[in-house]
């Protein structure tokens, strides 16, 4: 029988299904019968769900970001070819 500490230390692996089947069964059994560990499991699971839900929103690059990147790379190309840096206005 796993102790609470063993269960808590292994919760991430359990959530990620990254453990052997016999340990998974032990974890299931413990979490099913221990309300404290079940609360740990439930809240950790919900935490990850919240972030997954929130991060499904795409991040769009700001207007002009691509052009500024291209400009920076063009200046680097000139610099690497030994051209003098452009005069700053």
């Amino acid at each position: 029988m796993l102790t609470c500490k063993e269960v808590l230390d292994s919760l991430s692996d359990y959530l990620d299904a990254d453990m052997k089947e016999d340990i998974v069964n032990e974890m299931k059994k413990h979490i099913g019968s221990c309300s404290d560990c079940r609360a740990e499991f439930d809240t950790l699971t919900m935490t990850l769900k919240l972030y997954k839900h929130e991060q499904e929103k795409p991040h769009v690059m700001p207007v002009g970001c691509h052009d500024r990147l291209v400009k920076v790379l063009e200046l680097e190309k000139l610099r690497s070819k030994g051209a003098p840096p452009p005069k700053m206005v």
Binding site: S12, D13, T43, C65, L69
Partner: protein, 200 residues
Amino acid sequence: MPAVTDEELVRRSKEDDERAFGELVSRYESKVYSLALRMVRNPEDAEDVLQDTFLRAYRGIKSFQGASTFSTWIYRITANSALMRLRKKQLPTVSIEDQDERETPVNIADWTPGPVEQLMTQELQHEMDEAIDALPPEFRQVFILRDVEERSNAEVAEILDLSVAAVKSRLHRARLKVRNRLAGYFTDTEKPKRRIMGAH
């Protein structure tokens, strides 16, 4: 016509084909920006990381050996650049090796029942952002790559040049930290509470 592979574009870039490098930029700039923004948390810094990443890639492409894929390589540069920026900002500097393994809240609200959509409020979103902000940079990297970008432990390990065991250890502790922060938020609400015990 099949798309040109990253490997082919890298090969051409090494031969000073600037259009090929431009194509790599086009393919990866939004992904790099997105990862950078998740790590540094504001658009100005994310754009700096984006530019720094591709500058480093441009300068280093000839020495890129192809031991990893181009995508892993570019994300590694991004993660390192973001980490440098976070360190400069003096974000939480807790030693990642010296922290308690157990980080159990004393009380936690019973906030798990119900769908995510019902729990999600602007205030909670702000708290979630704060929870990530409060993570030491090395924990933040792992949490974002693994739980937000949903990469595998092996890929995160390769990007961050860590062992898989180190990734798993940091991930577990990062998750607990974030969860505890959210637990504190819910504990402060009027919702019913459920006690969480420490290890016993």
